[in-house]
Every structure is written in structure tokens, then in C-alpha cells.
Subunit: 320 residues, 2 copies
DNA sequence: CACGTTTAGTGAAACGTTTCGATAAACGAT
DNA sequence: ATCGTTTATCGAAACGTTTCACTAAACGTG
């Protein structure tokens, strides 16, 4: 592997001169700089990232911890938002999964990270922040000088959703919940309970889910077992709603007639499945972009405040 | 940041002893090893990745270059396959985009990569391979000792697709092509042309596409302009087929009646849109898994051969 | 007990950069 | 001609590991 040393030798200068020249320091004359650059190119020199980051204590890489599992089609637009923001900077993005890559933060493989991944506990993230990692969390509330937060307005989302079902005249309500560890799931559920409590004469029931399609199908099964009259179901994410579609398509129960369904997230699929899935929408692109802006600020020690992403109701055929 | 040096001082041993102990060398007694580990934990020591990889010339990270753009829902199952395979090893996965992260390979940020990304030219990849990077390419044919190849059987896929349409009695055929740089697109197109050439009395026409939904919609527009009688369309990927659905839903033309559509890839969405999209299927999980196995072999200098992934036809309602 | 051998630990170099402080030459001003 | 100042370059230390070559003590063997 050709190093700065080889260039120095060939150019008949010191390695420090080479380093300065390659980094465009004004200390070196244009002539020597040009000559050194020439030789570097000639030798196919590429800098060694490990050596540089060892010395500079930075990697110019930020991570996005998103994928505790790689299935689902939730992350596309979010990543796009992150990437678009990063494109005008000299930072690069890597996408990693909390399932394994826990070392990236403490070992300083990356300068910072955006986290939406239950694979990390609050304690773990705080530990990393204590060690100096800069983090933007998308799925929890953490107070720490090295941590910023950009979260969804889950509370409003749930309220919009429940009110919509009630407006439509539904009085028999199911909620399919999310995993216990998920902050979003919990916030959404709390808001549902609060909204429901304000009304009398409604039948309200919770079914345990875990944000996966399969758990949505299971919930549908339970609903079908208990079926007496038309019901409305609020799935705490779209993925489960789709699982419910899957299951119901094997029965005679019709969505928008016997079972009315609303989801949360407005993933791409919701506008393609039939009937189209009513859901709670928010800009994933903006979410990613805002998180990135804040992470960059955190890294450069600029002041930064926590943010909330607005949500809105999308009425579609799955609720009549 | 606490280093091996701090531990050595506190333990009253040399730094080499600490290094050996932490790495579990048998040169060090169990007693000292235990004591050193204890102190390391106490001081919250974490190794510095840059220093280690500088010295060891390896990072234990492999990359997946997949995302020239982050939209689309193609990559989920592929990543799952890669990840599942990696889980039993000590390698970690990062997902990166060829749009920016070109330095990761030459600068040895990663030990190797799986590449399915037109953001890299053949020449560029060869250059990296020459510099010592280990690569598995999924979207091109490259002969190099450091490069292995796992590709789809596009040729069979196209043949299956065309034959299916002809079997169904269609004689007016459109093909919506892919981007010129895409190897898969070209292979598919070549095979289509070859298959079509074997039949007389069929009307065959190509429309330029680029694998995006938008280009599928545009193609649909053109088809509608020229419409005289029912036509069959082979979209060289599902994404464009979906774009075509989008467009046609704004017209009175019906899929499976006026316009018959078959895609390629069998992405998740194809079985949800109505009517379900006929397409060419292959195991993305296996694709990722095989690529990973081969990459690991390449990295450990084991012999490895190129592979092809089988495809099969999925008949669905979009073609009658 | 004297010998070679094993064991447990040490010291120092090396990996490829960056950067501080030093130095020598060139320059401008008096 | 002399003095300070700027300019271009250099030397060396430092970042945090790993690992080779070495040593001294402990051990087993005849």
C-alpha cells in the first residue's frame, strides 16, 4: 500500500510537506503542491482512513441505526431525507442495525448517529453519549447534552384517528398495540386510552401486537372469532393493518364494511392495497432531514433544540 | 478517552500485557487477565477501532452498496439474506450508497463489499480490486481474482415472461426497458429481443424506461396514446409496472383486460396491488446469502466460483 | 544441581497520518 | 550592511493498538 512516505521519498521532500500539500495548506508553494499531487496520482495513492481518524479523532461518517430487522418498507423515505441533507456536506452515511453493530458508537467508527432502533436501550445510548458520541434519537426521550430528539406527534395522531372513527359513527373499537419497548407504540396507545376515556357508551378493546404483519393477521383472527357486528380497528402501524388485510382476504369479512381499519405511518403500500388504507401521515423525508441537520449541529457544538414532526389524518376507503 | 495505557498504569503492568490479556492470549495467567479485565471494565475502556484497524489492516466491517437512491422497496429481503449470513460471523454490515461513499473501498474503511449499484463503474471497481478490496458484484460481469459474481438468470426470466404472454395469445407486445447502465436491464432486454425474434406475426415495440415508477407511468401514457386493441406489456422491473398501474388508474383502461402487464423482481407490493402483478420471481434472501458467503471466502482467500440465481414465473391477474 | 525448556511478562517498533515547533532562506526596511 | 519578519520546509512526537524479539524466573529432568 502506497503511503505518504512513498510520495515524500519520490518527491524528495519530507512527509509533513506531503501531508500539508495534499491537504491544500497555504504553507506550501503552489509548485510543490502541484508536483506532490502529481506524484500522488501517479502512485495511485489513497489516504488511510484508520490512520487519519486515529490522529484526527473523527471519521466523517455518521450512522443511521434503523434496522432491527431489514424487512418492511418503512425506511426508504426517511433515509432519503437524511441523505439529501448530507449530500451538501462532507459527511457520509452508513446504515446499520442495532442487532450487531453496537461497537460503532463507543469505538468511534462513526462521528454520530441517528437512532430509530429498539435494539438500543436508553441506558446504552446514554453511556455512549457520556463517552462523547453525538446522537439524535427518533424513538425516545432522553435528556443529555450530546443527545437531541426529533419525534413524531404520536399523541395527536392517535387522537385524530380515534376521533375519525367515532365521527364515522363507530362505537365498537379495537386497538392493535405495538411492542412494549417501542416508545412510539406506547405514546400512541396512551393517547388512544385518553381519547377513549372521554366517551361513554363505546366498546373499547386492546389486542396485543408487535408492529409486524403477522401480529396484524393474528389480531384479525381474534376479531373474526369475536365478531358480532361491524367493528373499527386502529392498528398502531400500517404494517399490522396490512397483515390484517392479508388475513381478512381469506375470509368473507370485507374491509370498509364489516371491519373498518385505520393505520399509522402512511407507508407507500397503504395507497395501493384495496381498499386503500386510512392512516396517519407525516413527512418521513422531513423527519430524516431535520434529524440530520440537528446531528450536524451537535457534532459542531452548535446549540440545538428538540423538535416534533406534525402528523395528519388521511381518510381512505378502509374506513366507511 | 481511556486507553490501554491507562489500564497498564493502573494495573502496574506493561501495555503489551494489557493488550494480550484483553485479547485473551494464553501467554498471560488467568489471574492477571482477570485483574486487567476488571480494571478495563472499571475504567469503561473501549478499544479504539481506528488504532486497531491501522495496525491489523482489517476492520471487520463489510459494506453493501445498494442504494443509488434510497426509495423503492427492493432491498429489504436482500439485506435480510446478507444479515442472516453475517450473524454467525464476527463481521458487521453497513449499508452505503455509491452516490457518495466511494472512499470506503480504497481507504479500507471496510474489508469488502457486495455491490448492486450503478453508481460504480466497472473501471472503478476493478481499480479497487487492484488495490486489494474484495468484492462480490451482483449487477455486472467482472473477471478479477478479488471479485466474485452472483447474478440473476435474467435471460431465462425474460424468456419465461415473453413465452407466457405469447401463450396467453397476445401478439401485440410492448417492453418497457431499463437504464442503459444497468446490466440486469440490458440482459433482460437482449433476451427479450432474442425470444421475440423467433416468432413471426407479432407486433413488438420498445419504450424507454429507467426502472422508476415515473418512467412506468410515462410508458403507460404512450401506450394509451397509441391504443387500438388490447396489448401486453413486459416491464423490465416491478417498480415500473406499478407506475403503470398508477397511470392507468386515472384512465378507463383496465389492467388484465385492455392492458396486460408482467413485471420482474416480485417485490412485496406486486401481490398487494390489484389486480395482482404477474412477475418473475427469485429468492432475494438466497441471493444476499450466497453473495455474503462468497465475500467471506474471498476475504479469507478461499477458492470461490461465480453463481447464478434461478428465476421462475409467477402468473397473476394482471395478465389474462 | 546443572541443564535446557517452558512460562509470564516486558520493551520497542510499527501501522499512516497530522501538526507543533524549529530552522533556514529570502525579503524588505532602515 | 544589518535587523526583524515572513515564507517554505522539515523533524519529531503523537494518536492507540498489535506483535516480534527478548528476558528472567520457574520448572522438570537426568
Amino acid at each position: 500500500m502506497v503511503s505518504i512516505k512513498d510520495i515524500a521519498k519520490k518527491a524528495g521532500v519530507s512527509i509533513s510537506t506531503v501531508s500539508y500539500a495534499l491537504n491544500g495548506s497555504s504553507k506550501i508553494t503552489e509548485a510543490t503542491t502541484a508536483r506532490i499531487r502529481e506524484i500522488a496520482k501517479e502512485l495511485n495513492y489513497v489516504p488511510n482512513a484508520a490512520a487519519r481518524s486515529l490522529k484526527k479523532r473523527e471519521t466523517k461518517i455518521i450512522g443511521a441505526f434503523l434496522m432491527s430487522d431489514y424487512s418492511g418498507n418503512f425506511f426508504g423515505p426517511l433515509l432519503q431525507g437524511i441523505n439529501d441533507t448530507l449530500n451538501s456536506t462532507d459527511y457520509e452515511l452508513i446504515v446499520c442495525s442495532g442487532i450487531k453493530s453496537h461497537r460503532f458508537l463507543p469505538e468511534q467508527v462513526i462521528d454520530g448517529a441517528i437512532v430509530l432502533d429498539w435494539g438500543f436501550s436508553d441506558e446504552e445510548l446514554i453511556k455512549y453519549a457520556d463517552l462523547g458520541s453525538k446522537l439524535v434519537v427518533l424513538d425516545r426521550e432522553l435528556e443529555h447534552p450530546n443527545i437531541n430528539r426529533v419525534i413524531l406527534d404520536n399523541t395527536t395522531g392517535s387522537a385524530l384517528s380515534i376521533n375519525y372513527l367515532l365521527e364515522k359513527g363507530h362505537r365498537k373499537l379495537y386497538v392493535v398495540t405495538g411492542p412494549d419497548i417501542s416508545y412510539d407504540a406506547n405514546q400512541r396507545l396512551q393517547a388512544v386510552r385518553k381519547a377513549v376515556k372521554q366517551y361513554d357508551h363505546i366498546h373499547y378493546q386492546e389486542i396485543k401486537g408487535d408492529f409486524s404483519k403477522l401480529s396484524g393477521a393474528r389480531a384479525a383472527d381474534q376479531i373474526v372469532q369475536e365478531y358480532k357486528e361491524p367493528v373499527a380497528v386502529f392498528c398502531l402501524n400500517d404494517e399490522m393493518a396490512i397483515g390484517m388485510y392479508d388475513y381478512l382476504s381469506t375470509t368473507t369479512y370485507q374491509i370498509g364494511k364489516h371491519v373498518h381499519i385505520i393505520g399509522f405511518d402512511n407507508i407507500e403500500m397503504s395507497q395501493y392495497i384495496m381498499p386503500n388504507l386510512a392512516t396517519i401521515d407525516y413527512s418521513k423525508h422531513k423527519w430524516g432531514a431535520l434529524a440530520t441537520v440537528n446531528l450536524l449541529k451537535l457534532i459542531s457544538n452548535e446549540p440545538v433544540v428538540n423538535e416534533t414532526i406534525d402528523v395528519s389524518l388521511i381518510k381512505r376507503g378502509s374506513v366507511q
